[in-house]
């Protein structure tokens, strides 16, 4: 067992925190209030090298291993970057770009990866449908092959980056008779006739990320936009789970450290009844709880990353435990952080209420906690 990071990894983490605190964090409150996507910050993530961190350098990436990639996500959270931007990054890099990279042809890689890695193009993934959430196999979007084209029809919902994406990885059935084995993945570019996005949904948290429906109405795409082979789609979507349970959860781990630092500073500064509030047992307990959550979540998330680096097959039980733990158990610490700050915690300016709202996505997005419990109990 090896639990330590290399010198280079730690130096890079420090650099990400420094970059994020200076370039991104000062802009968050403005965009959070406007509930708008911050294109400039997103491009900065690309220029800094985060969006393509794990892709090889010849595709404009940083050549990082999975652990370092996850470390970058944790660092963004630790610096105080909002969940909206980190989610946009996660959907862009891991759900869209990585699917193209892992399953695409050399032409597809060369065409899309450098521009996605730099942030010049924004990516999204369209999998979920109004009647096919956790139950992916019941999707009804179709892709019909006609000569050298596919005709796509159907609709997708809750698509992160949907309204702003230049490149979408869209899943649809090439064979309605089959269930999982009938699903295929396609690359659909912005502006393709018959392809459109709805207006952004108003959400509880992660407000700077833009989420919408995608509509496919006799949308014609060239046959070479198929990713992999027909029927490979379901397995491709499963492979994103490894990233989903590591890199996409990492900002929540970082956010726990961010909350902890803020709470400790506040508890050491704020006085009531003639004492620093940090001297009260109730406050100490909250602070300890935040730390405990952070430590446990970090170990679970990095274990998934480590296994991926070691090329071990994903242990679905461990992945479900990681997702479930971060999802359900982050409720307590983020709530504690709000309450510890009292009236200030309830106010936007102190960031805690934002983290509380942002963390509410964790037990829902990418498979609800209920589904994780189902998986865990099935695998025991």
């Amino acid at each position: 067992m090896e639990f330590s990071f290399t010198k280079e990894q730690l130096m890079f983490k420090k650099e990400v925190i420094r970059f994020a605190k200076k370039e991104i964090v000062p802009r968050i409150q403005e965009f959070e209030l406007k509930k708008q996507f911050d294109f400039e910050s997103f491009k900065k993530l690309g220029d800094f090298g985060i969006l393509g961190l794990h892709f090889p350098e010849e595709y404009g990436g940083g050549g990082a291993d999975v652990i370092t990639t996850v470390l970058a996500g944790e660092a963004l959270g630790e610096a105080g970057v909002d969940g909206g931007l980190t989610l946009a990054y996660g959907a862009h890099t891991f759900l869209c770009a990585d699917t193209i990279f892992s399953h695409g042809t050399e032409e597809q890689r060369k065409k899309y990866i450098p521009k996605l890695a730099s942030g010049e193009w924004i990516g999204c993934m369209g999998l979920t449908e109004p009647n096919a959430g956790s139950d992916v196999a019941s999707m009804t979007s179709t892709a019909e092959k006609k000569g050298d084209k596919y005709i796509l029809n159907g609709s997708k919902i809750f698509i992160t980056n949907g309204p702003i994406a230049d490149v979408s990885v869209v899943y649809a059935k090439t064979d309605m008779e089959k269930k999982h084995a009938g699903i295929s993945a396609f690359i659909v570019e912005k502006g393709t006739p018959g392809f459109s996005a709805g207006t952004p949904l108003i959400k509880m948290g992660v407000c700077t990320s833009q989420t919408s429906e995608l509509y496919l109405s006799n949308c014609e795409i060239p046959a070479e936009n198929l990713l992999g082979k027909e029927g490979d789609g379901f397995n491709m979507s499963l492979q994103t789970v490894e990233w989903d349970r590591s890199a996409l959860l990492a900002p929540f781990v970082g956010a726990a450290t961010f909350m902890l630092n803020r709470c400790v500073a506040y508890a050491k500064d704020r006085e009531q009844f003639g004492r620093k509030i940090g001297q009260f047992q109730a406050i100490k307990r909250k602070i300890a709880n935040i730390r405990i959550f952070g430590e446990a979540a970090r170990n679970l998330v990095y274990r998934i990353a480590w296994c991926k680096d070691q090329k071990k097959p994903l242990n679905h039980l461990e992945a479900a435990v990681a997702k479930l733990f971060v999802g359900d158990w982050s409720m307590g610490p983020s709530n504690d952080a709000v309450v510890l700050h009292g009236g200030y915690g309830y106010c936007h300016e102190y960031d805690m209420e934002r983290i509380f709202r942002d963390s509410r996505l964790a037990p829902i997005g990418g498979g609800t906690s209920d589904i994780q419990r189902m998986i865990i109990s099935k695998l025991i």
């Binding site: 280079e8 130096m11 890079f12 650099e15 420094r18 970059f19 800094f48 090298g49 961190l53 350098e57 940083g62 050549g63 990082a64 370092t68």
Partner: protein, 248 residues
């Protein structure tokens, strides 16, 4: 063009410093360290000159065993190689200038770029001392640098405007705050920096005596400000200002 830049390891400017109870110095055990921000600016400018005109950037770090961390940071930014002069403890500005003078004999750069001062002791002496020891031209507090052939044109922010100096090369330039915005090292650059050479040298190798000429006898925190006092009326205020504070 070969450029030598010096990088100092200093306490992180974002941390609160505490004086040791016995007044012998700053409590360093719980501090984090980083490269002097002015040195970072100097490296950035050196790298931009190299990217424009070609050549080599060498980072020299003068200090204790941990100094290579900061040299490595400079290499991650894009410098080509490093030199660590291990002095054990931090030497004073004069010793640093004499060490650099010896290094320059070995390295013979076309240009020496330094931060205008280190943010820990704020001495602001090395660039000027070094120029004096070598008899080289100096242009300190640069806010803009243009290299043309064998000359450097250096703009400096002075009271009432911008002063432009032209110096012959080889020469010494020290960087002011607004010269540039240093880059963030990218991950591939950090990985490449791991393999770059850092040469180890001791002051004895260079024949420099680093016995300090300046010794810090005692350090103390500034006295804490006393709280204000409310006075009943203007008459009392004037009376106190005259008799107690003795300022009017």
């Amino acid at each position: 063009m070969k450029i030598l830049v010096a990088a100092k390891r200093v306490t992180d400017p974002d941390m609160v410093i505490k004086v040791k109870p016995d007044g012998s110095g700053i409590e360093l055990s719980s501090m984090s360290f980083k490269m002097n921000p002015f040195d970072e600016i100097a490296i950035e400018e050196a790298l931009r000159i190299k990217e424009d005109k070609g050549g080599e950037v060498v980072v020299a770090g003068i200090g204790g065993d941990k100094t290579p961390t900061e040299i490595r940071y400079g290499l991650s930014m894009g410098a080509d190689r490093g030199i660590h002069v291990n002095t054990g403890v931090d030497p004073d500005s004069d010793a640093v200038a004499r060490i650099l003078a010896k290094l320059l004999e070995m390295e013979t750069p076309d240009l020496v770029f330094l931060g205008k001062q280190a943010i820990d002791v704020d001495d602001n002496q090395v660039a000027q001392l070094l120029a004096e020891y070598l008899g080289w031209p100096q242009a300190c507090f640069a806010s803009r640098v243009d290299i043309e052939g064998n000359k450097a044109r250096v703009a400096r922010e002075v009271d009432g405007g911008i002063e432009v100096k032209e110096i012959d090369l080889p020469g010494i330039i020290s960087a002011d705050l607004r010269l540039n915005e240093p880059r963030y090292p990218a991950l591939p650059a950090i990985m490449k920096a791991k393999k770059k050479e850092i040469k180890q040298v001791t002051p004895a190798d260079l024949g420099v005596d680093i016995t300090p000429k300046v010794v810090i006898r005692k350090m103390a925190e500034p006295p804490r400000r006393k709280g204000g006092r409310l006075v009943a009326d203007v008459a009392e205020l004037v009376k106190l200002l005259r008799e107690e504070a003795r300022v009017i």
